[in-house]
């Protein structure tokens, strides 16, 4: 069969539909009026979805992926101007009124939204909200609908479904809420489910659970799924076909294997090349994609990726490439598949020469600082933390405050960082990693244990002493916008610290220029304000500021997690080069383990305020000995479809227990897959005795009574 894509329907002309498609979108264009002009968020999206198929739509923020999906659901605000064609089971949806559309929503097509925190109505029980979805489309009684709601909750894996259906959304964790959303989406056996970043706000182990539930939901309903995400890893194991979007248009489409193993459009190449790999011991160079996505107001002619593309030709600036088949005479795949297509003037060359990301984009791999060539034991410790404890009283009441409990945010952790090395602190939200660095950064006497920075203990420091240490210890935060004063020009921001430490004016200006160069910005940037920079550049400014006083140790608190994927790699590369050049040590806090594997020498895995495993990054990742580390690693999706298909996941049950009331003995036992298989006498030890970190070999320790190495990658 042939498929002529995209079908232009500027006049709303009826185009013959693709037989067999449940959902077919052709030439979809969406624009919004805005203060700076008309924003064309979607510029011609076409795809067809066969029954039961999973289509992944990948793109960064502003690529138009979410707007397209909202257009399909008819949920865009009334200011949006939509043209093209959207057909559901052959029926044209564009131009339908709210009443007709609402009959379809939740019945034929349903949607799972990103943020489960705000996507459920706070004032109704989850059972009622699901029952409502049933009753809108089915003529059933209240009790019947409630029964159905409980069944659905059971299907999506909510324990004690009957009882929990009477709970309100705020009584659920994020993962549980997302399950509720899925239950609601499948309530009426839809033919299409659109999942818009369904796992983005969630921790990795919870993400793995939710992906599994989505799989179950698909099995139960036979629905086709459109999975929208910025995370290529999530797509690799889940989708049949992928559509990569950039600046409101699809730039490459194909089967998952096409996209992941044979990308033919430079943006896709860069995107894949910029991903640090969790599953490769050899560090790979990352390919940063310089620059930023274009503004969608008055987009210039030509390829929208041209300003960032190293392969750009002059024709690229004049003519926007069509989404063409990559191989001439390529027969479209089975069913509705339009084969592998790429929107690039040079895709033939890429195909013929088999170019890879590193061929197209400049990539470097920084080495280790000179000091790190000495054996670890002989280097001095820049940070030494021993038995650190931080508890918060849990209080209640406005007038009569009273303590009702204690949160054990950090409960006796020990680690050190030697000169020239990077230690990563990883774990899911609530594990205590943020509290740990806050404790270190305040330089105050800890509640228990000791903290020594560059050999000096924080206990007993006076203000002068703290001031001295602050010179050697700096920090970069996650959100660059929030940590830069918008009213100061960059030069002042960078000079602030120098001023406090009495560096004379002349020297300051020179140092500012030097710092800008160090982080890859130009001297002309000194007089600009933070708002004039993109996210990636702002983070570079934050890094420059952290380096102003030539620190020895830099604390990096999730420094790249607020950045888009293609920009992330540039910042990671920068951090590595700086470490090599300036012999820095990093304390790197992150939840993204792939980034950690790339950047860190050593890693400490935290769970509920304790370190469960610590050691050399390759040892911990290759031969994890603690069941939690194993689960964590196995939960992370790899951007490698073949591996993903073969992998067996260790999916953790349940949610994180409250840190105000941690389980006795081993804190992980309520979710530990190993514990569940132990004989009662052995299991008793986990209940009674808290395991301490025990050596698993040189520079590798794990806190488990029955630690046993297992490879999961």
């Amino acid at each position: 069969m042939t498929l002529d894509l995209p079908a232009e329907t500027p006049t709303g002309r009826v185009v013959p539909g693709t037989p067999g498609a449940v959902l077919e979108v052709r030439g979809l264009t969406v624009s919004f009026p805005s203060e700076s002009g008309t924003v064309t968020a979607v510029r011609g999206v076409s795809f067809a979805l066969s029954p039961g198929e999973v289509l992944g739509i990948v793109g960064e923020s502003g690529s138009g992926k979410s707007v397209s999906s909202l257009a399909v659901m008819g949920l865009l605000p009334s200011t949006a101007r939509i043209s093209g064609s959207i057909r559901f089971q052959g029926k044209e949806l564009l131009g339908l009124g709210d009443r007709e559309f609402s009959e379809l929503r939740g019945e034929g097509m349903s949607m799972v939204f990103q943020d489960p925190l705000s996507a459920l109505t706070p004032v109704y029980t989850v059972g009622d909200q699901i029952a409502e979805a049933v009753r809108i489309h089915r003529d059933v009684g209240k009790d019947e609908a409630k029964r159905k709601a409980v069944e659905l909750l059971e299907l999506v894996g909510i324990p004690n479904a009957k009882e929990r259906s009477r709970a309100f959304p705020h009584e659920f964790s994020g993962g549980m809420r997302q399950r509720v959303m899925i239950a609601m989406a499948i309530a009426n056996d839809p033919d299409v489910i659109i999942a818009d970043e369904p796992t983005t706000a969630l921790d990795v182990t919870v993400q793995a659970q939710i992906l599994e539930v989505l799989g179950t939901a698909q099995e139960a309903t036979g629905a086709a799924i459109v999975m929208i995400t910025h995370d290529l890893g999530v797509i690799a194991g889940f989708a049949d076909r992928v559509m990569v979007m950039y600046a409101g248009r699809p730039v490459e489409t194909g089967t998952v294997d096409d996209i992941f193993y044979r990308p033919r459009m430079p943006y896709t190449l860069g995107l894949l090349g910029s991903l640090p790999r969790l599953d490769r011991a050899e560090r790979q160079p990352l390919t940063p994609v310089d620059g930023n996505p274009p503004s969608l107001v008055d987009l210039p002619p030509g390829c929208p990726f041209a300003p960032r593309c190293p392969m750009r030709l002059s024709v690229c600036l004049e003519l926007e490439p069509d989404l063409d088949p990559v191989r001439s005479g390529d027969t479209p795949g089975p069913g509705l598949h339009p084969g592998h297509r790429a929107a690039c003037h040079r895709h033939r060359e890429i195909e013929e020469q088999g170019l890879t990301a590193t061929d197209v984009f400049p990539a470097q791999l920084a080495g280790e600082p000179p000091v790190a060539r000495r054996p670890r034991e002989s280097r001095t410790a820049v940070l030494d933390v021993e038995g650190l404890v931080r508890r918060f009283p849990l209080t209640r009441g406005a007038v009569f405050r009273r303590t009702v409990g204690t949160v054990h945010a950090v409960d006796g952790i020990t680690f050190d960082i030697r000169e020239g090395e990077t230690l990563a602190l990883v774990g899911e939200s609530g594990c205590g990693k943020t509290t740990t660095i806050n404790e270190i950064l305040t330089l105050a006497r800890p509640q228990e244990g000791r903290v020594a920075v560059l050999g000096r203990e924080t206990t007993g420091l006076d203000r002068g002493g703290r001031r001295e240490i602050r010179r050697d210890l700096s920090v970069v935060f996650q959100d660059p916008m929030a940590s830069l004063d918008p009213r100061l020009p960059v030069a002042d921001i960078l000079a602030e610290g120098l001023k406090t430490y009495g560096v004379p004016r002349e020297k300051r200006a020179a140092r500012v220029r030097e710092l800008l160069r160090l982080v890859g910005l130009g001297p002309e940037h000194a007089s600009r304000y933070p708002a004039e920079f993109s996210g990636g550049q702002r983070q570079r400014i934050c890094i420059a500021r952290a380096l102003a006083l030539e620190p020895k140790l830099v604390v990096l608190d999730e420094p790249v997690s607020a950045l888009d994927v293609s920009i992330r790699a540039g910042v990671i590369n920068l951090l590595e080069q700086l470490r090599e050049k300036l012999s820095l040590s990093y304390l790197f806090v992150a939840h993204d383990l792939s980034v950690v594997r790339h950047i860190a020498n050593r890693v400490a895995v935290m769970y509920l305020g304790r370190i469960v495993e610590i050691g050399d990054v390759n040892k911990v990742f290759e031969t994890p000995a603690h069941p939690y580390t194993q689960a964590l690693l196995s939960a992370i999706p790899l951007p490698d479809p073949r591996k993903e298909r073969e992998r067996r996941r260790v999916v953790l049950e349940g949610d994180l227990p409250s840190p105000a009331d941690p389980p006795s003995g081993c804190r992980f036992r309520t979710r530990c897959p190993l514990f569940a298989t132990l004989a009662p006498d052995k299991a008793q030890r986990c209940i009674d005795e808290e395991p301490a970190v025990a050596s698993q070999g040189p520079d590798h320790g794990a806190a488990c009574h029955y630690a046993e190495v297992k490879t999961v990658l």
Binding site: L75, R99, L104, L120, T121, V399
Partner: protein
């Protein structure tokens, strides 16, 4: 739930005690009752002034702490002291509370209901003519001083309504009822309503303006919320989703608002009471300050503090009824 309310009640009680204490101290130190006697002609003797002041617990030569302890002691025993003309405070207070509550209750209930409705309409039809129109009027009303509004109402009633619409209800603008009127209870009720309309309007208009602004904003927030989108994605029509999922959520912040503004209305109603000749608490407050009547001022302070206590409890109840998130404690 009951435990939660009891705890809140205890909290409020402490606040009431604090507010009253501070109010008493303020009144007792800044108002000088002695001046009233000293200004009399013929001027009474020093000893008789002191004796009188001591009897009424108004002697500014007695340390204020001592006066307060005596007042508080009497208060706990149910005695609120005497007014300047030596009548028990409580007797008059009972009457005046009734007057005030009749005025405020109706005014704020209508004001809140209409204001919420207008706010919702304004939000749903954002930037439409209706929205601009109501917004403009709300700002005009909010910036009109209450006494001007009251005078305008009075004027309008006399000049236009009563003069040109002769067959309808004659609107009165002084007092609560015609003193000499006799007849069936229906006639009496009708008379009362005719008296009530103007002053109630005086309060309602300001309240409507106030609520409509807040409700409009809170509803706009809800209209952009994710859960509303979810409700539509389930298949609810936009209007149904707005009413079922939006309205209740948007009302949550209004619960606190409603209760407290009711408590605070007392001061706002002062002008209304004065201008329409209603002998309520607000009027009493102003008059007693002018007369340096500390015991009455203290009594009014107690009244408004208790009003706020009740309002707070009602707010908590409303809040808990609307928002399940605060129920479990």
């Amino acid at each position: 739930m009951l435990k939660f309310l009891l705890r809140r009640f205890a909290n409020y009680l402490v606040l009431v005690a604090l507010a009253t204490t501070m109010g008493y101290f303020l009144a007792a130190t800044s108002l000088n009752a002695r001046a009233n006697y000293e200004g009399r002609n013929p001027r009474p003797s020093q000893t008789s002034i002191d004796a009188k002041l001591n009897e009424l617990n108004l002697n500014n030569h007695t340390p204020v702490v001592k006066r307060f302890t005596r007042w508080a002691g009497d208060f706990v025993r149910g005695d609120m002291g005497k007014t300047f003309d030596e009548r028990p405070v409580w007797g008059e207070m009972k009457q005046r509370m009734g007057v005030s509550l009749r005025l405020l209750l109706l005014g704020s209930l209508f004001g809140a209901a209409l204001g919420v409705a207008m706010g919702v309409i304004g939000a749903v039809k954002q930037y439409s003519f209706t929205d601009h129109f109501t917004t403009a009027w709300a700002f005009v009303l909010l910036s009109t001083p209450v006494f001007l509004l009251a005078v305008l109402l009075k004027f309008g009633a006399v000049k236009y309504w009563n003069a040109h619409v002769p067959d309808s209800v004659h609107l009165y603008y002084v007092g609560e009822k015609n003193p000499g009127l006799t007849g069936t209870s229906f006639v009496l009720l009708r008379d009362r309503i005719a008296h009530l309309i103007l002053p109630t309007l005086g309060i309602v208009l300001g309240q409507v303006a106030f609520y409509s602004r807040y409700q409009r904003n809170s509803f706009l927030d809800v209209m952009g919320s994710d859960f509303l989108r979810t409700a539509q994605a389930k298949g609810l029509r936009r209007r149904t989703a707005l009413i079922k999922h939006g309205l209740r959520t948007a009302l949550i912040p209004m619960a606190t608002f409603f209760a407290y503004s009711f408590g605070l209305l007392l001061t706002g109603a002062t002008f209304t009471e004065k201008i329409f000749g209603w002998h309520g608490m607000g009027e009493w407050f102003i008059d007693s300050i002018a007369k340096n009547d500390i015991n009455v001022v203290a009594a009014v302070i107690v009244f408004s503090a208790v009003l706020i206590l009740i309002a707070g409890l009602i707010a908590d109840l409303l809040y808990a009824a609307l928002d399940p998130r605060v129920r479990i404690r």
